[in-house]
Symmetry: C2
Subunit: 198 residues, 2 copies
Amino acid sequence: MVPVLDEAVERISSLPGIGERSALRLALWMLRQPKENIKLLGNAILDLVEQVKYCSECNMISEHDKCPICQDLRRDKSTICVVESIRDVMSIEQTGEYNGVYHLLGGVISPIDGIGPDDLSIPKLVERASDDQVKEVILAISKGMEGETTSYYINKVLSPTGVKVSAIARGVGFGDDLEYTDPMTLGMSIKNRVNFNR
Amino acid sequence: MVPVLDEAVERISSLPGIGERSALRLALWMLRQPKENIKLLGNAILDLVEQVKYCSECNMISEHDKCPICQDLRRDKSTICVVESIRDVMSIEQTGEYNGVYHLLGGVISPIDGIGPDDLSIPKLVERASDDQVKEVILAISKGMEGETTSYYINKVLSPTGVKVSAIARGVGFGDDLEYTDPMTLGMSIKNRVNFNR
């Protein structure tokens, strides 16, 4: 009925999980807000897609050629943690336990979806790991068949570089009850048990 | 970590029903889409708040001084349907049963929220209804105490104009079972029964 409203509803409903009714509700809500707030929202979305680049080193999102982590002189460049996505980096950063750098694959090897090693910046990882400075590559890739295949493949292509390849520990979560832990996880946490007094 | 992403997440999470986690998910989803699509979204939001005006006659949203309904020469200007919001207009328009014009209150009288008749463009409604051309005002305002108060008040202030004041019928929904209809609604549909053979 009102073209600018129709256009806004159509665009908002293109977002995942937002149907046409919710989109209309959001658009009408926007009209009831101070105009400045909604302009900030619109501009934030435009800035996001216009200004975000990808780090030439690790593929993390960045506003510059290199991301803040790769640029940070205090980060340990001898250790590269291989993850699938931006969110994985955010999760690991939140722990405060990791001081190395990252390498984002952007996914896992998936023949069904036509995703091969070259689509996942694995050649670039090999190139980075070939630098004498790099001592260890930590695989923090999801379990499951595709993730395992990817880890296996990376381990194989990294072997000529002589770099140490490790994988994050899998086990019973902090504070989780054994009785509610799935057998695969519990089995792994027994197999990979660590010395109590270390 | 990346200021443009943080800004986008903050702005998106200001939307109703969207928390910070969902906002991050939406922002990362946007980064995976073709840039053009997301620019269309951002611009649609900016256009919405920058180009939408309110009809000087009925308060409906519009891109011009008068809304398409008030401008439409085929609409019957002798009948004004009083509703609370834009969505009510959209719902009634969808039925295809109404050919008159509207008057949007923008809410209902609510002393608790400090909303009085003057906040609801009721004086403007009286002015419109005073035009000799106008024969009937249909109240399509929600039930409940505040809605009833508003209807009662409008009926009172319109009486000097001599215009006919009616209210939409309340009753059992089309296709609804009597056993699942609340007693208030069922009672109204008996009290307001209509001649079967008309």
